[in-house]
C-alpha cells in the first residue's frame, strides 16, 4: 500500500517510487501534490534547498524519471556561462519533443532569443500541453552569470506563456539569491537533513551480499559513532564505509572472531578508523593507497600524506634563513633589540609585557618584513660569521619558490623587497630542532 496517493499515476509506479526514495516520503508527497496532474499548471518556479548530500538531485531525478514527466536536467557548474546554459536547455528540449531528430546545437546568445526559441519548440504535438520541468542543479552559480538570467528563469512561465516550471536546487538559502529590486518569489521547499537513524537505515542498505544485514548494521553503527560528530554528509560516509569494510571483516575472515564478537571487532577497527579520519577523510592520501595499506599488513605504519611532502630537506643556511624569517614575521620590530642584541640595556617591564590576547601575532597571521631585517636577524642567530654573498640571496629566492616565503607588494626597486613567512609553528619547530635552535625562547608571543 503506497504512502503516496495520486489519481494521475498508477499504483505500481508509486509503489516503485516509494522504494527508491527511503526517508524522503514526505518531501516526495509534497512535490507530487504541488505538481498536480500532467496538464495542470504549477508554480512558475520552485526552489529546493537542503544540506550537501541530502538527496535533492537524486530525489528530483528519480521522481521525474519514474513518473515519466517531460523534464530537462542541467547542471549550472557544467554550463557556467549563460550562453552554454541556454543552448543546453534548447538542445535537451529538442530531444524531448521527438525521438527522431537529435538535432545540432541551437545557437542562442541572449535570453530574448531563448524565450522565442523555447516558445517555438514547445508547440509540438508530443507534449500535449503537459508541464515541462526544467531542473537547474547547483543553482547558486546563476548568481555569477548576467543579472537577468536568474529573474528571467523565475518568470519563464510568464514570458513564454507555456506550461513550464523551473526547479532550482541549491545548498544556499533563498535569501542569498534574491535580486536587489525583488523578483517573482519561488515556492521554497526544504529537504531536511538525515537524522542518525535515517543515515543508519540508508547506509545499511548497501551491504554486500556475503554478510548478513545485522553484521553490516553493527559496522555502520561503529562507523557513525566515530564520524557522526564530524561529518553528516551521506556521500562521505558511504565512501568511508565502503573503504573500511574489508578491514572490519578481517578477524572474521581469519577465523579469530565470530560475527557476533563485537568487542574484538571494535578493538580491531577503532584505531584504523581514527587513522582514516586523519588521512582518507582529509583526502591526504588516495583511496587506492589506503586500500593497499590495508592489504600489506595490520598496522598502517608510516602514512605519507600530501601535506607531508611539504617537509623538504633544506640546506643549513636555508634553515636558518627560514627561522629568521619566521622570527621577523611573528615578532614586532621593536622587540628585536631585546632578543638579538647582547647588551640591550634596561627595558621597562610594564610597557613591554602588556599585550592583549587578540593581538597575538600567531592569531593574526604573519607580517611582512624588509630584506634588511631578515639579514640582521640571520647574522645574530647564526654562530659563525656569514658573508652576504649571492649564495645567501639565491637561497632566499628558492625559499620563495618553495612557497615557504612569499614576496609581498610590488616589484618595487626603490624600497627593496618585502617578504612574509608562511609556514606553521609546528613546521618551524621541527626545523629548529634539527639545528638545535630553541625558537620558542625567541618568540614574543611565548614570553
Amino acid at each position: 500500500m503506497p504512502n503516496f496517493e495520486h489519481p494521475e499515476y498508477p499504483e505500481a509506479t508509486l509503489l516503485h517510487l516509494e522504494s527508491m526514495v527511503p526517508c524522503r516520503e514526505s518531501q516526495v508527497s509534497s512535490l507530487l501534490s504541488v505538481f498536480g496532474k500532467r496538464q495542470h499548471f504549477s508554480f512558475p518556479s520552485i526552489f529546493i534547498y537542503g544540506h550537501t548530500s541530502s538527496g535533492k538531485t537524486y530525489v528530483i531525478q528519480t521522481v521525474l524519471e519514474t513518473l515519466e514527466l517531460p523534464h530537462l536536467f542541467v547542471n549550472c557548474i557544467e554550463c557556467f556561462t549563460s550562453r552554454l546554459l541556454l543552448e543546453e536547455i534548447l538542445t535537451q528540449l529538442q530531444n524531448l519533443s521527438s525521438e527522431k531528430k537529435h538535432g545540432s546545437r541551437v545557437p542562442c546568445d541572449t535570453f530574448n532569443d531563448f524565450v522565442r526559441l523555447f516558445k517555438q519548440e514547445t508547440i509540438t504535438q508530443d507534449l500535449q500541453n503537459q508541464t515541462v520541468y526544467i531542473v537547474l542543479d547547483k543553482a547558486e552559480q546563476l548568481r555569477e552569470m548576467e543579472a537577468n538570467v536568474l529573474p528571467g528563469f523565475l518568470r519563464l512561465q510568464e514570458f513564454t506563456d507555456r506550461n513550464v516550471t523551473v526547479i532550482f536546487l541549491s545548498e544556499i538559502v533563498w535569501e542569498l539569491f534574491r535580486p536587489n529590486t525583488g523578483c517573482l518569489e519561488p515556492f521554497t521547499l526544504y529537504f531536511p537533513d538525515y537524522s542518525i537513524g535515517h543515515l543508519q537505515k540508508i547506509l545499511s542498505h548497501y551491504h554486500p551480499p556475503e554478510y548478513s544485514a545485522d553484521f553490516y548494521a553493527a559496522y555502520i553503527n561503529i562507523l557513525l559513532g566515530v564520524f557522526y560528530t564530524v561529518c553528516r554528509d551521506l556521500k562521505e560516509l558511504r565512501h568511508l564505509a565502503a573503504l573500511n569494510f574489508t578491514k572490519y571483516c578481517e578477524p572474521v575472515v581469519r577465523g579469530e572472531a565470530s560475527e557476533r564478537d563485537t568487542r574484538r571487532l571494535w578493538k580491531n577497527i577503532e584505531s584504523h578508523l581514527k587513522k582514516a579520519m586523519q588521512t582518507v577523510y582529509l583526502r591526504e592520501i588516495s583511496s587506492s593507497q589506503w586500500e593497499k595499506i590495508q592489504q600489506d599488513d595490520g598496522e598502517p605504519g608510516h602514512l605519507k600524506g600530501l601535506s607531508a611532502h611539504a617537509h623538504v630537506e633544506l640546506p643549513y643556511y636555508s634553515k636558518f634563513l627560514l627561522i629568521a624569517a619566521y622570527l621577523a614575521s611573528y615578532n614586532p620590530a621593536r622587540t628585536d633589540k631585546r632578543f638579538f642584541l647582547k647588551h640591550h640595556g634596561k627595558i621597562k617591564k610594564t610597557n613591554f609585557l602588556k599585550k592583549h590576547e587578540k593581538t597575538s601575532n600567531h592569531l593574526l597571521g604573519p607580517k611582512p618584513f624588509p630584506l634588511d631585517r631578515l639579514l640582521a636577524i640571520l647574522y645574530s642567530i647564526v654562530d659563525n660569521k656569514v658573508a652576504p654573498t649571492a649564495n645567501i640571496f639565491s637561497q632566499i629566492t628558492s625559499l620563495v619558490t618553495l612557497q615557504l616565503l612569499t614576496l609581498v607588494g610590488h616589484d618595487d626597486q626603490l624600497d627593496g623587497p618585502k617578504y612574509k613567512c608562511t609556514v606553521s609553528l609546528d613546521f618551524i619547530r621541527a626545523i629548529a630542532r634539527t639545528v638545535n635552535f630553541d625558537i620558542i625562547k625567541y618568540l614574543y608571543d611565548f614570553l
Binding site: 499548471f41 537577468n148 586523519q278
Partner: protein, 436 residues
C-alpha cells in the same frame, strides 16, 4: 449524521476535483486574464481614458505605472487592453509592442524585437542604419505607408522599465519619448516599474520629453478588505459544471473566512506582506492538498501552508550541521561577543575551540587541526560565513578574515532544537564573557 455527510462528500468525483484544481491553478499560478482586480478602479479608469485617447483620437501619450512587486501592474494593464480590444476600431488599428527589461538587455536587441513585433522584418531587410533614431523613424514611416494615410496608433509597453534606464545613453527611451512628443504617428508609451525613484534615474533630456504622468498602485487595502479578497479569490465561478459542489464549496469558503484560526493566519500573513501574490502562494499551497478524500479546504490546511511559507531557512540549515561545525559557530559567537563583531579568522576560531576542549569539554574529542579546517570550509561553502574582502590569493587560508552571517538569537534558537546536542556544548553556548 456522519454517514450522510460521507455520502454527500463522495459526490465530489474525480473529474470535479480535477476541474477545481485546474481552475485554481490557472488563477493562482498562471495569472489567467479573467482574474479580478481589487481596489484599482481609479487607476483603471485613468489608464483606460489614456489609451482610448491614443487609439481613438490619435493623441500621443506617455505614462508610468509604479507599484511594488505583486501589486497588480501587469494585471491592470492586461485588463485595460482586454476592454479596449472589444472596440472594433481599436481591434483593427492598434499595434502593440511588448518589451521587457529582462529580455531586451540592450538597445540593439530591443530594436530587433520592435522590428519583429511590428512584423517589419521583410521591409527592413538588410538595410543598415546610421543611428537608432533613423531606424526607428524608418519603421514608423513604413507603418504609415500601410493602406491608409492615417497611421495606425502604436502602443509601446515597457515592462521592468527601470532596467531600460541602465542602457547606454538611454537611447531607446530618448527616441521613444521623442517620437511621442513630435506627433508624427500616435504613439503611447506605458512603462511599468517597481522603483519609486524611477524619475531620478532618467537623464535630463529623457525626463523632459516624458509627460510625467504617473499611476501609482499602492496595495492600499486594510485587513477587512483583505479578508474579502481572500473570499473572492476562493469562490468557484458560477459557470462551473457541478452546481451542487459549487454551492457547497462556496459555503465552505464563507465559513472559513469567519473562522478564528483562519483569520489569525491571514492576519499574520497580512502583517508580513500585503501584496496579493504572496496570498496566492498561500492559497495555492493550501489547495494542493485537495483530493477526492479531502474535497473541502479546512483551517488546518491553511495553517500548514502558512507554516511552510514562513519557515526560517537559515535555522533549517543550522539544524543539519555536525556537532563539530556547531562548536565552531559557538566559538565564532563568543568571538563576536568579546570583540564586538570584528572579523575573525580560522586561527582565532580554532584557538577558542581549543580553549573549550581543554577546559570544559567532556564529550568532544580533540580533533586535529586539518579536520577542524575541513569543517570550517564546509561552513564557508554553505555561506554561513563569508570572507570580508572577497577571495584574495595572497592571504593564507587560516588567516583570511571572515564574518558570521548568523546573529546570536538565531544561533541560540537553533541550538534549542538541535537534535542530540551534548550538554557541555549547550552550556558553553550560554556561558557569558567572563567564563575564563
Amino acid at each position: 449524521m456522519s454517514k450522510r455527510k460521507s455520502k454527500e462528500t463522495s459526490s465530489a468525483t474525480e473529474e470535479c476535483i480535477s476541474q477545481v484544481q485546474r481552475i485554481f491553478r490557472e488563477r493562482f499560478c498562471h495569472q489567467c486574464p479573467s482574474g479580478k482586480l481589487f481596489g484599482l478602479e481609479l487607476q483603471y479608469k485613468h489608464l483606460l481614458e489614456l489609451l482610448k485617447r491614443t487609439t481613438i483620437h490619435g493623441e500621443s501619450n506617455s505614462a508610468l505605472i509604479i507599484g511594488p512587486r505583486g501589486s497588480g501592474k501587469t494585471m491592470l494593464l492586461n485588463h485595460v487592453l482586454k476592454e479596449l480590444m472589444e472596440i472594433k476600431q481599436v481591434r483593427e488599428n492598434l499595434l502593440q509592442v511588448h518589451l521587457n527589461g529582462l529580455l531586451q538587455t540592450n538597445d540593439k536587441i530591443a530594436l530587433k524585437e520592435i522590428t519583429r513585433q511590428l512584423q517589419m522584418e521583410n521591409v527592413v531587410g538588410d538595410k543598415v542604419f546610421g543611428s537608432f533614431a533613423e531606424n526607428l523613424s524608418f519603421l514608423l514611416e513604413a507603418l504609415k505607408k500601410g493602406d491608409r494615410e492615417n497611421s495606425c496608433p502604436v502602443l509601446f509597453i515597457l515592462d521592468e522599465f527601470d532596467l531600460f534606464v541602465h542602457h547606454k545613453n538611454q537611447t531607446l527611451l530618448y527616441n521613444l519619448f521623442d517620437i511621442s512628443q513630435s506627433a508624427q504617428t500616435p504613439v503611447t508609451i506605458i512603462g511599468l516599474t517597481c522603483r519609486q525613484d524611477i524619475l531620478e534615474l532618467l537623464e535630463k533630456r529623457v525626463k523632459s520629453r516624458f509627460s510625467h504622468r504617473q499611476i501609482y498602485l499602492m496595495n492600499s487595502f486594510d485587513f477587512k478588505q483583505y479578508l474579502k479578497i481572500f473570499k473572492e479569490q476562493l469562490y468557484l465561478p458560477a459557470e462551473f459544471s457541478d452546481k451542487t459542489f459549487t454551492q457547497k464549496w462556496n459555503k465552505n469558503v464563507q465559513s472559513l473566512s469567519e473562522d478564528k484560526t483562519v483569520q489569525d493566519v491571514l492576519r499574520n500573513h497580512f502583517h508580513c506582506s500585503k501584496d496579493l501574490r504572496s496570498l496566492h502562494m498561500l492559497l495555492m499551497l493550501a489547495l494542493s492538498s485537495i483530493t477526492v478524500s479531502h474535497p473541502f479546504m479546512t483551517g488546518a490546511d491553511l495553517l500548514e501552508a502558512s507554516k511552510l511559507c514562513r519557515m526560517d531557512s537559515k535555522a533549517n540549515i543550522v539544524h543539519g550541521l555536525s556537532v563539530l561545525e556547531i562548536c565552531l559557530i559557538i566559538a565564532m559567537k563568543h568571538l563576536n561577543d568579546v570583540y564586538e563583531g570584528e572579523p575573525f579568522n580560522f586561527q582565532m576560531v580554532y584557538n577558542e575551540f581549543q580553549k573549550f576542549i581543554q577546559r570544559k569539554a567532556h564529550s568532544m574529542y580533540n580533533f586535529e587541526k586539518p579536520v577542524v579546517m575541513k569543517a570550517f570550509e564546509h561552513l564557508l561553502q554553505l555561506e554561513l560565513i563569508k570572507p570580508v574582502d572577497g577571495p584574495s590569493v595572497r592571504a593564507q587560508r587560516e588567516y583570511q578574515l571572515m564574518k558570521l552571517l548568523l546573529d546570536n538569537s538565531q544561533i541560540m534558537d537553533a541550538l534549542q532544537v538541535y537534535p542530540n546536542c551534548p550538554t557541555d556544548v549547550k552550556q558553553w553556548a550560554t556561558s557569558s564573557l567572563s567564563w575564563l
